[in-house]
Symmetry: C2
Subunit: 254 residues, 2 copies
């Protein structure tokens, strides 16, 4: 490895100080399902700039870590989460002036958590909060930097990945009911799916869900107790559900 002190083998034109220096940050959009609605983890900024405004967790990348490692570290430090079901990079932002202090290029990650009822409580800083994405993006909440755009892009990514990857299973626990899984699709896409058709798709074709034999306790509103499943291997190669195409056929109840 060539060190900065020794110039051997490196021509004179390659003086590192000649090239513009940037700070590189990693920001993590943490999404999860709460009460059948998509939520995002936001923190309150305690320092300028944008002091007191909401922001997504993030921080500076260190020279000796990869981008993925930095994202994992920030996830743990700022949101108090040890391991997410899913952590993927999805975009980079580098507009001049996006940070008033200096030139900052940020790499954005998408994290999906399951069952984060205690995340808000467990974070030691106690400044992290779960906010519905609808509220975070409807303009009433002012987000720091270009974080509103970053959250928008993350949600857009999830919507697309729902068809292409097994990201839906990252929103639910290790065991789950069919209705729970369907709720993920309905919340992220903002649609209503037929429960019977959804079940047929994932439970009839083998490989998507594996029955555990146990049943979930019905909610306070009653109903037949649902079977509990584990995620199968097929989720590695995509998702079983496609975004519903509007048909002009039977639209009886409308």
């Amino acid at each position: 490895m060539t060190t900065k002190t020794g110039n051997r083998g490196v021509p004179a034109g390659y003086d590192a100080s000649r090239y513009p220096a940037f700070a590189v940050t990693v920001d993590v959009v943490i999404l999860t399902m709460v009460n059948g609605e998509l939520h995002v983890v936001l923190v309150r900024r305690g320092v300028a700039p944008f002091k007191g405004m909401w922001a997504i967790p993030g921080g500076f990348k260190r020279p000796n870590e990869t981008l993925d490692e930095a994202a994992k570290r920030e996830l743990a430090e700022e949101a108090g989460v040890d391991s997410a079901s899913l952590l993927t990079q999805f975009a980079a932002y580098g507009d001049p002036g996006r940070d008033p202090r200096m030139n900052v290029v940020t790499v954005a990650y998408l994290a999906v958590l399951r069952d984060v009822g205690d995340v808000v409580a467990s974070t030691d800083a106690a400044h992290a909060d779960l906010v519905p994405v609808s509220e975070a993006l409807d303009g009433t909440m002012e987000l720091a930097f270009d974080h509103a755009q970053i959250v928008r892009d993350a949600v857009e990514r999830v919507r697309a990945d729902l068809e292409l990857t097994g990201i839906a299973t990252a929103f639910v626990g290790p065991t789950f009911t069919v209705a729970e899984l369907r709720g993920v699709y309905e919340a992220v896409w903002g649609v209503q799916l037929d429960g019977a058709n959804f079940r047929r798709r994932v439970v009839t074709e083998s490989g998507w869900v594996i029955p555990t034999g146990r049943r979930a306790r019905p909610g306070s509103t009653g109903g037949k107790p649902a079977e509990l499943f584990r995620a199968g291997r097929m989720w590695r190669q995509g998702g079983p559900i496609r975004y519903p195409q509007p048909t002009d056929r039977g639209r009886r109840n409308q």
Copy 2:
């Protein structure tokens, strides 16, 4: 905009020099169709490190330009291309040691060109070359930095985008034949598609292709001259062709 000299409004903790400095580069994977095969534009590095090896075009981001602008500039400077049909960011790479000189984070872009028969000739540096991606990735060509992985990721992205976006039309000219368009899918996916079924899909349903009334001159091998089409508006909302699902039904000729 806050300058580095004045510290007004910024707390003492925010000394920019305290945070690790990175160089930020933008690299562009330029893909195009040549002779029914997917090709990538590579340049020979004239300077260390990796002098003499192949690399994808790229360069340092300037502080006063956005990432998208930097990509457009590099596309013009290094490959001699004024405007690509498509230029999208798709990943960022920041592993420590990926550049032996210093800490470099690179943002990778995917560019798709149509009709680049003269690109290689027109580039003033005359060091750009069109290489089949199969050759670029089969291990015989040594690519600088982590550029082999970047090209792999770009191709993977194109494969997925073929179903989701109108990226297929970026590979063909402003007017094209159905067979030309089908060739894009066959080359990128590495599959054989039935010509009749493909035509029915894109030409029967309106909005995908618009007939121009003209016909293309048949190739030297003969055949009925094909109709020339323009791309319709539907490509904005996705692609009409899905990756073929292997069926176990009629496999007569095999």
